[in-house]
């Protein structure tokens, strides 16, 4: 056996040197294949307000009403309800096993709960007066806080650090508070993706260290102009190479999935006519979570792979800096 390995070794190395570059070329530029795996039914009228996925695969979803769903042992979903009145803008697995850290938009405070739901601590979040918290994502040091600022009429994102709040992003000044453009946040290891909820559905990438931003321009989508107001973007997801965005019609089952490759070029826009949407990426895996309605609501785990696709088109560069 050993002589055989020694004999094959150099050829194997040669083979690897050929295969790896091919994979690198395919990654993000070939077709992205998604295969449905585990399906977990959710309560029929559960409204997914937010989702977190731990590195170990644990999933927690919450609704606007404060209902919390957790995946337990990978399969079943357990429902719990926070007893306190709060508006969950962000949720994080707590500092101790079973505990929770909540960014409450109602009070503008961080609340800590033990595994039994008893509050064991709180502190004010780094929000200025007149800022309405929209979404919060926990990082090691503190929260990333996205809010609408009544004073400046802008969407702002700040990062809590040991030195205080660091501004990361602010949107354009709107005519009124209600007209402030809103964004979904998706946290990456060193960046933040901001997805504009309404048209033109821009995806803005912000470096967490510097606040430097660039925009993945969304191409013109095949949506009739008079129904554009009924379409919403879901949070963009970062793949191993490339970015994926789902845009959904609130008036029906029409969905558009936009994919950028690793060089930020739009590779493909796929139209679907199913009640389906992307929810979150599973950290460290080639898989993501999606929601679909098949009578009830289901959480589906998709595994992705790249395949060569000679038909993939590459429109002109759509990247810009801001």
């Amino acid at each position: 056996m050993r002589p055989f390995l020694l004999y094959v070794g150099p050829f194997g190395a040669l083979l690897l040197s050929l295969v790896v570059p091919v994979q690198a070329q395919v990654c993000g530029r070939g077709a992205l294949g998604l295969e449905a795996g585990q399906v977990r039914p959710l309560p029929p009228n559960f409204g997914i307000q937010g989702t977190i996925v731990a590195p170990d695969g644990r999933v927690a979803l919450w609704s606007a009403g404060g209902e919390l769903l957790q995946s337990v042992a990978g399969d079943s979903i357990v429902s719990t309800q926070f007893s306190e009145r709060m508006v969950i803008a962000g949720l994080a697995f707590g500092p101790t096993s079973g505990s929770w850290r909540v960014a409450d938009a109602w009070t503008g405070r961080e609340l800590l709960f033990d595994r039994d739901g008893n509050r064991e601590g709180e502190r004010p979040l780094a929000l200025a007066q007149g800022q309405l918290l929209e979404q919060a994502i926990w990082r090691e040091e503190g929260w990333l806080l996205a809010s609408r600022d009544a004073a400046t009429r802008r969407f702002v994102v700040v990062r809590e650090t040991a030195r205080g709040a660091v501004p990361l992003f602010h949107g354009e000044t709107a005519d009124s508070f209600a007209a402030i453009a809103r964004y979904h946040m998706t946290a990456l290891p060193a960046q933040l993706l901001l997805t504009e909820v309404r048209a033109p559905f821009r995806v803005i990438r912000v470096a967490l260290a510097t606040g430097q931003a660039d925009t993945l321009l969304t191409p013109p989508l095949p949506i009739p102009h008079d129904s554009l107001y009924l379409w919403r973007a879901l949070p963009a997801l970062a793949l191993d190479c490339g970015t994926l965005l789902a845009v959904a019609s609130l008036a029906g089952d029409q969905r558009l999935l936009v994919r950028w490759d690793a060089t930020d070029r739009v590779v493909k826009v796929t139209a679907l006519a199913v009640p389906f949407g992307l929810v979150a990426r599973v950290p460290g895996e080639q898989s993501l979570l999606a929601a679909r309605r098949t009578g009830g609501l289901e959480l589906v785990t998709y595994h992705w792979h790249w395949t060569p696709d000679s038909l993939a088109s590459h429109p002109p560069d759509t990247r810009s800096s801001r």
């Binding site: 294949g33 295969e35 449905a36 606007a64 129904s227 994926l244 959904a248 589906v300």
Partner: protein, 155 residues
């Protein structure tokens, strides 16, 4: 006597001008619905409905009109312009509302089905006045089709 009649007439005119023009507004709503449905090619999802009010500007003129999309407010016209008065029939749709799986994911508010429109959509579905699906029933065939179409995707 003449002065009293003049004052009464002036007061009446002022009251007419200041009063929320409910009857006029309803008429405008009917007009808006008639206009929007006359296109024929529009789907029911895009049909504007009576009761979706909001302030509309045409140059320097402000008016309170029905059939506005999004129509989150009720409103009234006074000498000083158009004023939003209260949440209208489309209020719940100001934040996307959809129990339709994926689109629901963008929901940022508590789902309030009771505020949905009474206007029927397709069988087994209910829409609010913006045309957003707020409730639906799927047939077994539709459920099977969703499972089939989403089992594997090539993007």
């Amino acid at each position: 006597m003449i002065r009293t009649m003049f004052r009464t007439a002036l007061l009446a005119l002022t009251l007419i001008a200041l009063a929320p023009p409910a009857a006029q507004a309803q008429g405008l709503a009917a007009l808006a619905v008639a206009t929007s449905t006359s296109g024929g090619g529009e789907s029911s999802a895009l049909r504007e409905k009576a009761g979706c009010w909001d302030c509309v500007t045409a140059g320097q003129v402000y008016n309170c009109m029905g059939g506005q999309v999004p129509g989150y407010w009720n409103c009234s016209v006074t000498l000083y312009g158009c004023n939003r008065s209260s949440s209208g029939c489309g209020h719940s749709a100001s934040i996307p509302v959809d129990i339709d799986g994926a689109a629901q994911y963008v929901s940022r508010n508590v789902i309030r089905l009771q505020e949905s429109s009474e206007e029927p959509g397709e069988p087994g579905e209910e829409r609010n006045c913006d045309g957003v699906i707020v409730a639906r029933q799927q047939s077994p065939d539709n459920i099977a089709a969703v499972r089939n179409r989403t089992a594997a995707l090539s993007l």
